[in-house]
């Protein structure tokens, strides 16, 4: 089966923006091993496109909820996941599929380090 049809099948596996397990099971039953592999790949891609991951160094539940609320408003059609990453030191990191908005202190310090290294190479 052509790639574009598998892509269509992956899109059709959603009901109201949520992955429908019944549909997935039904589709998977008709696919060959190779096509199934491609189908899973497409589903994974769609899932990552529909998910926003936010990394924060804070463990406070309130802060996490605040962030989640704000981002849920910005990305109304996407699922917002909040995760902990103490290595960021301060700030947040937003991962939107293949785009990363790194607004953390760690990133700034890393860039500064790189800049100095380049200057005095």
């Amino acid at each position: 089966m052509e790639k574009k049809y598998i892509k269509k099948l992956a899109l059709a596996s959603y009901t109201k923006n949520e992955l429908d397990s019944k549909k997935v099971k039904k589709i998977a039953g008709f696919l060959t091993r190779n096509n199934l592999k491609q189908y899973i790949k497409e589903l994974k891609l769609l899932e990552s496109q529909k998910t926003i991951t936010i990394l924060t160094p804070s463990f406070s539940k309130k802060a996490k909820n605040d962030i989640k609320e704000k981002f849920a408003k910005i990305y109304a059609d996407k699922k917002v996941i909040i995760d902990n990453d103490p290595s960021l030191i301060l700030g947040i990191k937003v991962i939107d599929n293949d785009l990363i908005y790194d607004l953390s202190l760690k990133n700034t310090l890393d860039n500064l380090n790189m800049h100095i290294n380049e200057q005095y190479d």
Binding site: L45, N97, D98, L99, I100, Y101, D102, L103, N107, T108, N111, L112, H115, I116, Q119, Y120, D121
Partner: protein
């Protein structure tokens, strides 16, 4: 105490360094490796990446984007990339591939990314020059008007090269293509010293050659003192195809650095056949549609955009120039193959080397009949021009007559004379490798043969006569050589002195 570094000075330096730091967070675009095949990576993600963008892998390896497809991008690796596995992260850098160039690069051997290969320390940082750049436009250019002396009599007389010209050197393997290019580089030292022309900086780009060959060339350049004004860019046969593909562009970028400073630069691309092979390999791995001889459709553009960067800028734009000497290796003298015809049509002329001539002892084995220089004539000095025209005519008459003479029929006096003159002209154009001639000596040799002074000298003694004559004039008549070095057409007085010197020399010469 004076030698101690002042803490305030350190802070000042740091502040200065940090003043250029951009605090704005950068948007990072990431992707993941799907496939790693023969130096080409197919990756997903990277939706914001652009053509020719530099990307970085987790292990520090870098690559350049060459294909943008619907869901994937194809990246050529600038390293072997053996460690790169499926699923590895890739991030965009937002930069185009560039090479950092400074004056410190002169005398160095570097790879196409600017990394030294000669085991010496890292060159000082200079300016980032993009590898891919659109060539200067019509408004910034002026016609070729300054000669670039090769020091090879046959070329300077009959196929003159001007600064800013693109002259192809074409021929089978082993017939002296590289030798011409190397001689030209070596000659730039004495050319700057003995004439009023400016020093030409040189860039020698070795593409797909054996490491031993490159080492030999570098050694020779060092020995002749030519490395002082030369940069060698080397992508050997063992380097990845991507580096071989990038090498000529890196050479061009280095040349452009000096061009921006208003200097004259000579770039030798040795050779573009192997460059086309490297690009064909990449294109096939990238699954681009293959055309004639399996080369991709844009093989012409590959070389035309490179050679278009050869330029003679006008005074308002600095007045610098980049002269390109691309080399093409033919198979069995076939100049009508795909890549040779492409490059012939791009360049402003070609120097064609032939095996038959080489084997019959005519070296450099230049076939004057089909070698041309389309723009160099206007750059020739008045002195050389005054003798080269006659020599060219005599030589073409000789070639025509020589064909007739083979029938063995009786020939009249004039034809006999033409044949004898032709033999001597051919003989005087012979020149051993690494023995470049100055402007004055080139004139002297050409004048000798065209004025008939060699007609009585046996052909086998011509080389000896020439050599001794040059040193005789240099020692006894320095005024003549000094005047001829200016490149101006010699006046009556100089010609009279020349006649006198020749008669004097001939008396003492024994063949």
């Amino acid at each position: 105490m004076n030698n101690m570094i002042n803490s305030e000075e350190i802070i000042k330096q740091l502040e200065k360094g940090l003043s250029t730091f951009n605090l704005d967070p950068k948007l990072q675009n990431v992707g993941a490796v799907q496939k790693n095949t023969d130096g080409v990576i197919v990756a997903s993600g990277l939706s914001k990446a652009f053509m020719g963008e530099l990307v970085a892998f987790d292990d520090g390896t870098e690559g350049v984007i060459l294909n943008l497809d619907e869901d994937t991008v194809s990246i050529i690796l600038l390293d072997s990339g053996k460690e790169i596995k499926e699923g590895d992260k890739i991030k965009t850098t937002g930069r185009l591939l560039s090479i950092n160039v400074s004056e410190d690069y002169l005398g160095r051997v570097v790879n196409p990314l600017g990394i030294p290969l000669d085991g010496k320390s890292k060159p000082k940082k200079g300016k980032d020059m993009p590898l891919e750049k659109i060539a200067a436009g019509v408004v910034e250019r002026e016609p070729v008007n300054t000669p670039l002396k090769t020091g090879i009599k046959a070329i300077d007389a009959m196929i003159p090269i001007g600064r800013g010209q693109r002259e192809l050197i074409i021929g089978d393997r082993g017939f002296g293509k590289t030798a011409i290019a190397i001689d030209t580089i070596i000659n730039q030292k004495q050319s700057a010293k003995t004439t009023k022309l400016r020093q030409v900086f040189c860039v020698y780009v070795a593409i797909g050659q054996k490491q031993s060959t490159i080492a030999q060339v570098v050694e020779k350049l060092k020995e002749k003192g030519a490395m002082d004004y030369t940069v060698v860019v080397a992508a050997s046969a063992s380097d990845p195809a991507s580096l071989q593909y990038l090498a000529p562009y890196a050479g061009s970028a280095i040349a452009e650095y000096f061009l921006e400073k208003g200097e004259d630069v000579l770039v030798v691309y040795d050779d573009l056949t192997k460059h086309a092979w490297a690009y064909r390999q990449l294109s096939l791995v990238l699954k681009r549609p293959a055309g004639r001889e399996a080369y991709p459709g844009d093989i012409f553009y590959l070389h035309s955009r490179l050679l278009e960067r050869a330029v003679k800028l006008n005074r308002e734009n600095g007045g610098g120039s980049i002269t390109a000497l691309p080399i093409i290796e033919t198979q069995a003298n076939d100049v009508s193959a795909y890549i040779p015809t492409n490059v012939i049509s791009i360049t402003d002329g070609q120097i064609y080397l032939e095996g038959d001539l080489f084997n019959s002892g005519i070296r450099p084995a230049i076939n004057i009949g089909i070698s041309v220089s389309r723009v160099g004539g206007s750059a020739q000095t008045q002195a050389i021009k005054s003798v080269a025209g006659k020599m060219k005519l005599e030589l073409s008459q000789y070639r025509e007559m020589a064909a007739f003479a083979q029938f063995g029929s009786e020939l009249d006096q004039t034809t006999m004379q033409q044949l004898e003159r032709g033999k001597r002209t051919t003989e005087i154009l012979k020149q051993p490798q690494y023995q470049s001639f100055s402007e004055a000596f080139e004139y002297l040799s050409m004048w000798l043969v065209t004025s008939g002074h060699l007609d009585q000298i046996p052909v086998e003694s011509i080389q000896k006569f020439e050599k001794e004559y040059h040193s005789f004039v240099k020692i006894n008549y320095p005024k003549i050589t000094n005047t001829l070095s200016t490149g101006d057409k010699p006046n009556e007085e100089i010609l009279k002195q020349l006649e006198k010197a020749t008669t004097e020399f001939k008396k003492g010469f024994s063949a």
